[in-house]
């Protein structure tokens, strides 16, 4: 009797619902976190303990402090990889944002058959799997002398332009032409129009596009592996090569540390740009 009455008070009923939902969500969340947590706490254990008892928490015997991290940094030039990944990601993302927004805006304002054809041709990039062009792109990149860390931004522009131009096109269409006409009447040139009027209006879209591109490029394995090879490894390449390289048995502790190292920057990045990532995803844009 009393219970029934209590449940009729909306506040308590709502609370009960919340509790049930939380009771499902919390274990689920822990389940989702577990694989990463597993790597995290294993990164403080000695290699033997990682392979023998991967699920055991570090204890007095197995705990090695930050030794794995020091090994990981030295192993296969990981420090250079970290730096290289940063450079390639940042410069590629900036180039993509600039070039593809200029391209998207200009083609839409230009109008006519040529621009429609060019936009159509740009879409092709979204349906072609990388395996189709990996051999020939690597070949031509070599011939053009672009097979270096400095050539990578151009490659990412080529492979990222489709999606970036496509997403930005949607936003360019949303900018009222009247704004630009008013600026033209006031004597604003094309270049100043783009950088002074259009780009500020495109900022939210540019951030969304850049965030998606950053996640793709930071994590990309195959393109840097094929173009830069093992001499100029990025982080994913360094991790893969350290597992398959001619080192004999792999240093598991070092691997754990490298995995954590590769995750930290992207998680920090996510904390700052969460809103834009979620926006990008719910618009259906897809990571690489």
């Amino acid at each position: 009797m009393e219970r029934k009455m209590l449940s009729q008070i909306p506040f308590l009923r709502k609370n009960k619902e919340q509790l049930i939902t939380l009771a499902i969500l919390i274990p689920l969340a822990l389940l989702f976190l577990f694989p990463v947590l597993l790597v995290l706490y294993n990164s403080f254990k000695g290699s033997v303990y990682i392979s023998n008892e991967p699920f055991a928490l570090p204890d007095k015997e197995s705990f090695v402090g930050v030794a794995n991290y020091l090994v990981g940094l030295k192993q296969s030039g990981f420090f250079g990889a970290l730096f290289r990944s940063f450079f390639i990601t940042v410069s590629s993302v900036l180039l993509l944002a600039l070039a593809s927004s200029m391209c998207a805006w200009f083609l839409h304002r230009m109008g006519g058959r040529v621009s429609r054809i060019l936009l159509g041709v740009l879409i092709i990039g979204m349906v072609v799997p990388f395996q189709m062009v990996m051999y020939t792109t690597t070949f031509i990149t070599g011939k053009l002398g672009l097979a270096s860390v400095y050539g990578m931004p151009l490659l990412y522009l080529a492979f990222g332009a489709s999606l970036s131009v496509f997403i930005l096109s949607g936003f360019v269409k949303g900018i009222p032409v009247a704004v630009e006409e008013a600026a033209t009447i006031d004597g604003c040139g094309v270049v100043r129009m783009f950088f002074g009027v259009v780009m500020p209006l495109l900022t939210p879209a540019l951030i969304t596009v850049s965030v998606l591109n950053a996640m793709w490029i930071w994590n990309d394995y195959l393109l840097p592996y094929l173009v830069l090879g093992s001499d100029n490894r990025t982080i994913p390449v360094a991790i893969q090569l350290s597992m398959t390289g001619a080192y004999g048995s792999t240093n598991l502790g070092g691997l754990m540390a490298m995995l954590i190292f590769s995750m930290i920057p992207i998680v920090i990045f996510y904390l700052f740009s969460q809103k834009y990532i979620i926006d990008g995803v719910s618009q259906g844009a897809v990571k690489g």
């Binding site: 619902e17 939902t21 060019l118 189709m132 062009v133 151009l154």
Partner: protein, 295 residues
């Protein structure tokens, strides 16, 4: 805006992107199609051989057909499992629970991490479990298959959930209210109101999951590497190995890539056709509909 205006600034605004795209993507694409009809070990010594490579793809017995079937099975099961999990997560997270944002972040987190890293994270986990039985993931193909599937659910579940959450929040409050007044149970509301209304999103997520799974490479390479004996190889890894693991088989690899391209492109274009029928979804969904998975 005058014609003169266009011509003068075209080189500045469009040419950089167009040039990179043409030289580093379109030309390789055309060259790749041509090379699939050639025998070669480097591009310079290619000799035209007609359909020889295509015939060899199916007669050489290096498991390409098997990898296609493996990929198909993997993709279909992924579509079902990933989307069931994602829908369940989305329904839980739209129940206006405290801290929903934090939970969403946790479920989404696997998507931030690259495929290679994910593969090794799961390698540790799966082998840790299997070592209790004295085996590892390369022991049997079904272990690798299940490992890849679990990884995919874990990775894409939170991603698709974000799309479903957006769709569920767009279901009109009045409709839900009306159904409640008419005495619909929660299950009835879900089956007859929510699900039909978010059907477009379900189809989008289905397509995205399928193409993502079918084109998967990094996770496959890091988790199983195709072991045992190439039985857990997805098409992308099979193509890669043909190119870089076998001498003189580049032509066959390129022919495989063309076949792979045709299948993937067919699937992606299905989405475009669907979009035309499904226009009145609001701009956001219409946009989402047109975007196939990259790579």
């Amino acid at each position: 805006m005058t014609r003169l205006w266009q011509r003068r600034f075209f080189p500045l605004f469009v040419l950089p992107t167009l040039l990179c795209y043409t030289l580093l993507f379109l030309v390789p694409l055309a060259l790749g199609i041509y090379l699939s009809f050639c025998r070669f070990s480097t591009v310079d010594n290619a000799t035209f051989v007609g359909f020889e490579n295509y015939l060899k793809v199916f007669s050489s017995g290096d498991g390409f057909l098997r990898s296609m079937l493996f990929g198909l099975g993997f993709s279909i099961l992924s579509v079902i499992c990933v989307n069931l999990v994602a829908l369940a997560l989305a329904l839980l997270l739209t129940r206006r629970v405290r801290g929903a944002g934090i939970f969403r972040s946790v479920f989404f987190m696997p998507n931030l991490i690259g495929g290679i890293v994910l593969g090794y994270v799961w390698n540790l986990l799966v082998n840790g479990i299997l070592s209790n039985f004295g085996v590892d993931i390369t022991y049997r193909a079904s272990y690798g298959f299940l490992g890849l599937l679990t990884l995919n659910i874990w990775q894409l579940g939170g991603y698709m959930a974000v799309i479903y959450i957006a769709a569920l929040l767009a279901v009109p409050k009045e409709t839900l209210e009306a159904s409640r007044i008419d005495g619909a149970t929660p299950w009835q509301t879900l089956l007859f109101i929510k699900l039909p209304l978010i059907l477009p999103s379900i189809l989008i997520c289905g397509f995205l999951t399928f193409t993502n799974a079918f084109k998967m490479f990094d996770q496959n390479l890091a988790l199983t590497g195709g072991a045992p004996e190439g039985e857990t190889m997805l098409p992308a890894l099979n193509i890669f190995n043909t190119f870089y693991g076998r001498v003189g088989a580049q032509g066959i690899g390129q022919a495989k890539a063309v076949i792979f391209l045709i299948i993937v492109a067919l699937f992606s274009s299905l989405q475009f056709i669907r979009r035309k029928e499904e226009e009145p979804l609001g701009k956001k969904n219409a946009l989402a509909n047109t975007l196939p998975a990259k790579k």
